[in-house]
Symmetry: C2
Amino acid sequence: MTAPTPQPPTKAQLLELVAALGTAQWQDFAAAAGRHGLTSVQAKLLAQLKGPVPMRGLATLLVCDASNVTGIVDRLEARGLVRREPDPADRRVKNVVATEEGRETIHRVRAEMQATHTALDALDEDERTTLYGLLERLRPGMEHRA
Amino acid sequence: MTAPTPQPPTKAQLLELVAALGTAQWQDFAAAAGRHGLTSVQAKLLAQLKGPVPMRGLATLLVCDASNVTGIVDRLEARGLVRREPDPADRRVKNVVATEEGRETIHRVRAEMQATHTALDALDEDERTTLYGLLERLRPGMEHRA
DNA sequence: CATGGATGCTTGAAGTACTCAAGCAACTTG
DNA sequence: CAAGTTGCTTGAGTACTTCAAGCATCCATG
């Protein structure tokens, strides 16, 4: 390992590789979600619900218009995977929470991302640590999109 | 760097980080595409056109139904960014090629992914090489989706 | 070479995702 | 309390997506 300095990849190559990996993981996620009757967008929303989140918060997390969230939550609610609860402190706000079934479903979706899990198994602990460190350094600049 | 063996991240953490990065890059791509009047899907299709590609090939590359490609190419063709050419060897096939304007457009979109470029600039050559190597090892398992 | 079965593309129907403009309710501030 | 702000929904319009059908062309077998 730590090979004898191979040709450093160009930024373009690295970019393409990251994109390819991201796409592959997304496909894996979408396929797993599909097996549970969810679209990838619905699953992604469900994945954000560690606790109660107001509609507006979801729009921010998903980087989309609030009116879009209404529809997605409508469909998830129709399936009994989430619930809208009134916010005790502000009557305008509706907090979305995952139901027990919702939590189980998203948990299974994550567990069933076989391609992704298998891929990660190809690395040992040290490599994972290194990778994590490098990726973390990549993150900051990616966050701040106006 | 190469810190004194910090806690190795769990697979879940690593997974989440990769997902976050993928999402950030996709947002960046979508925003850049939007500035040129393209949806992210249209831009993604355009990005596949290094040479002539039959409709069916595009469906395979984008992992979607062939009938879906018809619509996307229709809209790109209406904007003059791609062209459908008959295949000399098989009259059923239509090969899609990017026009000069199409090539320029996708080139600019890539160049304008500022957040992504800035993020990659945070790494030096050695780190990029290491990262590339690790990500490449991740790829194989991600490819084989039925 | 005729015919039956693939294969490549398009169309139409139906549902999801997405944005923008408007509207209503509720909060906040002067 | 009035005016402005914020949170959510609705409605219109477009894009994306799949599936089922249909047409043209290719290919293999007899």
